[in-house]
Symmetry: D2
Subunit: 367 residues, 4 copies
């Protein structure tokens, strides 16, 4: 059971390898009558596309998405939407070394052990290239959310590169798309440019922390106990390549707080409950409160580096390895649109789930 | 779709409220022929049971588990196992205040908004009492793991209470069950006792970080892309009450590392691959490497505190609330056996999944 | 993966054996705010209860259902509803013969081969006693349908006993609960009484065909391609013990029709489309038309008979077997309320599914 | 939730419309290391392909399958296999009439009501063209079965056309692929040729009954209670376009039998249990016995006929309709390879499920 699907009612199955003929997503459960435009999907794919600037891998992929089904005269029909992206830049590279040796910190060795066969070209199925399919599917989710939750805004951004975090005092939503790192802190953007240039030139790599915020999320989304909104978000983010940690709201820092500090006090506002703070990250008991939903995840550094590392071969001999060629000094950059896409898919899925069990209006009015 | 189940092949559905007649777990997919002993299940339940010492809630529950189905003459039959725990200490308390006012930081308000009805007694379904059912189910998983992976050892322990972390240099597996905090660092246990006593007396509460380690996990477990072993562990832990962050291996700290530092170098040992370090937490590409699987999660402080907090009523009026009565100054303590239970369920599930798709032997031998 | 659950959003898991302490159903996904009354559930259980008349097994079971969770002050809370039925008449019978020999036509042999262990008392998990849990769950579904589709009427009845079919010309809805066979044809009821008396006295058994009709089903229910309304109904009915065939509308007879005969012609009525006939059984392309949904299923005769049959023992020796004691000469009688319960569960599930993807109004108005 | 997937561990999602750019199947959970050859898949697709003889629709489709992922150097990698079939003969026909009027007995009206939008060209998603994707997926299942159950043989054939059944006395396996009707009775083949010629010329259509037999099915497959082998087969077959009834073994006829007649007596043979008959169709209690698994399903006549039928328009006006152009006088013919494909998918899925829960050997040996 390889389980290449996620979602309950809005269900996405991705398929494809880094260097096969194509990759894509089968999107099932989209409501009918949603305007679906390949150009809109392309907008999101272009954000994730490699080779956008010197800080991301120089692989050249058009990442053009074709809609093969489920859309008629520009609108979703309620039947499965097949999104296909052709691989074009499968550079005729010699993969014999990677085919024989395992990169430390990479899925090479576990895929081999588990399956006894793997496509070594570009990492095959374990490549971050799979995330292009997520971004395409996320575009469908955003289109549906545009109808079902028109005020919803999903924004991802980088809050830490290597050991260097942003200054929250300098947080500016408008800065996020003004720098190659999708960071809301313009000062951090400057510093990181210098820092990453150094890493890039030395053939090294570094990790990052991405935050994704959803504003104007309807209250009442979530399906306790085992498909809580935060549980599904944690699973969605942890499923992204190279992610090692996920936080909701206060996250790991919640451990340090007292009950007094952690309580987001409630008062009655003109449009419903208001909160004095948002340690909860917009979710209580697995159900959205109506506050901003805030998720963070840590992306580890890529294991494809120019420094020699010790490893073994498939025949079990000790060896050394060095990964030449194109690589991402900070793959976290390209994870930003992926995190946004996962947020969109999870929220749409929970809107549909909630509507299924509860209906279109929440029964519990306050006031 | 309230989704009270988790797991793919080993599938657990929990049910029940804090103050209803009973709660329990329906466990489906256990292999047949596994010795199931109510006393063994009780061993794990007793660890989570309230009132064990002055640091946990003084509610008195026997937490006695009854096996109602799926076991014949002491062995699992392969049919669903129903585990029921009667609630006995449903103290005749006045819940009228909690029924009308929402505790800040608690699921009170979201359950109300979503469902328009909730059992306010003890938190109803949102109560951490639900985790007793997880621990019982985890006992079934452990019994099956005893047959399928007899060397596996799952151990949970506390590594941080409030802002106070353990000293990893003083880590001693044998200390874990020698103190009320399940911590491997005896010095931390002493300090925390003083610290928590103070919090308890002042009616405050504090968060914690729990780590769960699985040793001797077979290589090859995991179902990329969307049911990676780490994804399923993240979901399992995030689904526990009050959890706000989950980390695998290096976790959020992976963001700060360079590719050189993060690479767990590989060499060939007498029994297969060996690793110079374990930043990966035993999982690469969503598949277990055979190293220790290491998960950490942060538990927020309970919102039931003796300090007055601002809130609103169901009718939308501003109000103040203070939660008297039994409470846990550090609910993280009782989350330790719950984390272990979730680890057991996830690993068993993935052993069955792997056996389903791959068979009993991994095809990719090294050397 | 023993898979003891069915349904997508309204999801029922049954558990329990014929002679264990109890059996029941875990019902997940019921909308909140539905009035749930144990007495109402009991009404349906009493219909299925053994020992109601001389034509059904003389086992004495009160079949009293306890609601252990998910209902607060008489209304569903949206959390899982646990329904438990204690087994009371576990007659201290000698099961040693059945434990060693396999009844021909019974699950004895396959359960043994697959699991290597089975509870032989009363058939264990393979007993039709499991259907009591379905009926209880169906009672929950009916309560929710009472809110969501108040005009819906689900009626099951027997249309054939052994080789003797009813005369459709004599079909009278009001006769169904006037005879022990739930048949709408009073003449058939008389004839069958004589016929079945003969079979009962000779210790023989016979099969039957049950039809379940749902009237006032909303149009638009169904989830093509693989969870069509008819597909889910077929699975629901085929999962009942002893069922060997399922038909929708014209059923197997559709093979004999020409396209002209099979076309249910459409005209416009005051409240929407009307149909000249209902060969389709109320379902086209897997989606309900608004006509009556008509399902039929065949129940084979019970294999517990007083005539000696050849079989083998667990040790592989040839043997003979005869099943003494309580038995049902026509188990089809007690399958009537079970078929109704499955219909109720499937329709509710599809109402929730439809509401999830589509919303509360169908977008495709006619006229 | 449109639910375009089926299967538990071997999971197939189909996508695509009759006249869109392409259709296909996403196949997840195939074991790794299975030889997958596009030419082998093509073999099965060619059987279902339209225009093979004068008895099937004259639409010209190459039905060439492309493997886009999941196969490396000719072997499955354990990752999802994407199978794509381009639509080539999308004849530039005028669909305006069908777009406005609903064909009686067709999904036109229900798709419209439910979704408010549909692709009218060739029936869109409700077209039997979707079954090409099933046949392709079935080819993957057969390849895996070739490894896991090498003796297994799956054979579909027609046993009834319109009111004309075969003579079981003349059953000859070798005749099945010797006539355009896939019937084992050469005399029936002759008669049906004449009969169908008449129907074809008059622009009429007729139903059929297809039987699919699996020989050398391992004992022990099946997942009671709600994913019994027969339940999953019933769902698989009922999900095929135009199917209205499904039978296992004796099927609807089981209703007419007595317990004595229906008991397949057991004796011990050299290789295990042997049965005197197979009323059960190879399945007892939802688990395979090792006998032949026998499934039958009825296919209704196509609703595209040359006779005028009464209907309504989208605007709710009464109208008449006649369907000109290419059509299948007996679509049952082309359902034969589809039924085989579904059988292959279900059996493989249950082999994987059984291996997951039970392991590679059944624990219950006899003798």
């Amino acid at each position: 059971m390889s389980i290449n699907s996620f979602g309950h009612l809005f269900r996405v199955t991705t398929w494809g390898e880094s260097h096969g003929p194509a990759l894509g997503a089968t999107v099932d459960g989209c409501p009918p009558g949603v305007k679906i435009d390949a150009a809109d999907l392309q907008h999101w794919l272009d954000q994730r596309k490699p080779g956008q600037n010197k800080y991301t891998t120089q692989r050249r992929e058009a990442d053009e998405v074709e809609i093969l089904s489920g859309v008629y005269e520009g609108y979703s029909t309620g039947t499965p939407i097949q999104l296909m992206i052709r691989n074009t830049d499968q550079r005729s590279k010699d993969y014999s070394e990677i085919a024989e040796k395992f990169r430390p910190g990479h899925a090479d060795i576990t895929y081999w052990q588990k399956y006894g066969i793997r496509d070594p070209r570009g990492g095959g199925r374990s490549s971050a290239r799979e995330t292009a399919a997520r971004v395409a599917a996320g575009g469908i989710a955003r289109a549906a959310l545009g109808v079902l939750a028109p005020d919803l805004q999903i924004t991802g951004y980088m809050v830490q590169m290597g050991p260097h975090g942003i200054d929250r005092a300098g947080f500016d939503w408008n800065q996020i798309d003004q720098n190659p790192f999708w960071t809301p802190d313009p000062k951090a953007a400057e510093d990181w440019a210098v820092y990453l240039d150094g890493l890039r030139k030395s053939g090294s790599s570094v990790g990052a922390v991405i935050e994704v915020t959803a504003r104007n999320v309807p209250a009442g989304l979530g399906a306790p106990i085992y498909a809580k909104l935060d549980t599904d978000l944690a699973a969605a983010m942890m499923s992204i390549n190279a992610v090692k940690g996920v936080e909701i709201g206060e996250g790991m820092g919640a451990a340090s707080l007292t009950g007094e500090d952690n309580a987001d006090e409630i008062s009655m506002g003109p449009d419903g409950p208001e909160y004095s703070s948002n340690h909860a990250g917009g979710i209580l008991g697995g159900i959205s409160t109506g506050q901003e939903v805030v998720v963070r995840f840590a992306v580890k550094p890529t294991s494809s580096i120019l420094t020699t590392r010790k490893t073994i071969t498939k025949s079990g001999e000790d060896a050394e390895i060095i990964t030449k060629g194109r690589h991402d000094p900070c793959v976290g950059i390209r994870a930003v649109p992926v995190g946004e896409a996962m947020m969109a898919c999870v929220i749409l899925d929970h809107i549909l789930l909630n509507r299924g069990q509860i209906g279109e209006e929440l029964p519990g009015k306050i006031g």
